[in-house]
């Protein structure tokens, strides 16, 4: 496994350019969350020419719908959800200056083309490790669409949050590369 790279947020086009598919990373700083319903609302708002409730420029969106926090805790379990459900909406958000996305699973060819065009990166967080990842979140506040409950947009502060660069801005794709490498005949 390659050496772990520290990534301080917010992202910049230069930082994103240096992240190569296959590199394990640890994130420090602020990220936003959004999943199905919030994506739908953001893209609908943009199509009506409205402003978004949060600025996307240079941010990273983490696809998650966390469990509610117990009293005295920052957040409940907060692992990644399947990213491909966001594929329809993603190119529109990349056009707004979104530089990073984090979730689980491969992306569509259209999203990967848009990532190359706008210079954005896609990270895979460990799916199903919700309790572990909750411990890497030091602050959480709902900042938009609170009526959506677990699907609201949260601003999270993370420290030492583990992920791996799954698809880089050149379109190198760890899902395809990894599968080819370990496939054997008899399948």
């Amino acid at each position: 496994m390659e050496a772990v790279q520290r990534v301080d947020l917010p992202l910049t086009p230069q930082k994103v350019r240096e992240l190569q598919a296959g590199t394990p990373v640890r994130l420090f700083g602020e990220i936003l969350t959004a999943r199905d319903a919030a994506h739908r609302r953001m893209v609908q708002a943009l199509s009506r020419g409205e402003e978004l409730p949060v600025l996307l420029k240079n941010t990273l969106i983490y696809y998650t719908g966390p469990c509610p926090a117990r009293k005295g805790e920052v957040i409940g379990a907060a692992g990644p959800t399947t990213s491909s459900r966001m594929d329809t909406y993603t190119p529109r958000l990349l056009a707004e200056g979104l530089l990073g996305m984090m979730g689980k699973g491969d992306r569509s060819p259209a999203v990967i083309e848009a990532m190359k065009e706008y210079g954005a990166v896609y990270l895979a967080a460990p799916g199903g490790a919700g309790a572990l990842l909750a411990g890497k979140i030091t602050r959480a506040a709902a900042v938009a669409y609170e009526d959506l409950g677990p699907e609201a947009v949260f601003r999270l502060e993370v420290a030492d949050f583990p992920a791996v660069v799954a698809i880089d801005i050149f379109g190198n794709n760890l899902y395809r590369r990894g599968r080819r490498k370990y496939a054997r005949s008899g399948g």
């Binding site: 496994m1 399947t82 895979a124 919700g130 599968r179 496939a183 008899g186």
Partner: protein, 280 residues
Amino acid sequence: MREISVELITNTVAGLCREANLDLGEDMLALIKEAVSKEESPLGRSFLESLLENAGLARRKELALCQDTGMVVVFAELGQELHITGGDFNAAVSEGVRRGYRENYFRRSVVKDPFLRENTGDNTPPVIYVQVVPGDRLRLTVMPKGFGSENKGQVAMLTPAQGKEGVKEFVLKTVSQAAAGSCPPVVVGVGVGGTMEYAALLAKRALLRPAGTKHQRADLRELEKELLAAVNNLGIGPQGLGGRRTALAVQVEVYPTHIAGLPCAVNLSCHCLRHKTKIL
């Protein structure tokens, strides 16, 4: 006639919801540990190790194993000599889910209507299956089913001529298409026989067997073994990032079927396969 109250049913379901979401079974932990020792991909191994850490943390800190605490599926085996008193059985089970999710800060993941999509706010209703059996006991199993993997299941109405080869091909196609989206390593539940919907239920019931246990029938044991090897040869690996452990187990259940058909269903579970049972 033996009697039990709906309150007892509600309390039991609430308790099972809590246990299932906080405590990954020893069967799954053993399979993940085995996968750590066999996985060739370093990235895959480190992911599998993080799952063991996650399970420990969930138990210690009373945090859900996964934020997708699922739609709850309840399997009830109701003894025909048992009388339920004090109210409605289905309402009692629903109330148990409501309480279990509220008291433990689990995510509400259920919407009222598949088109209107407004959250019900309490993770109800569950999906409930009741089987009437001999005896005077009630056996309750609660399975919170996450939708990352649930979304990737498929049903096929194969022909008798397609036989075992057709089933193998279909299972492989389903897992291959599911790939990273199903949160591998997965447990693959396969149901063969019955009718269309019954095959799907068999596939889900196959996931209730202690994970990694083999079928009692020798030919089906052999089929499970072949399928597991073939699935792992796909190279999808932990999290779909490449590796030799795409599935932890393949579990097949069968049922008599019609002379004209071979229904086959695949129900996938992520590595967070959760279910707890209590007999009242």
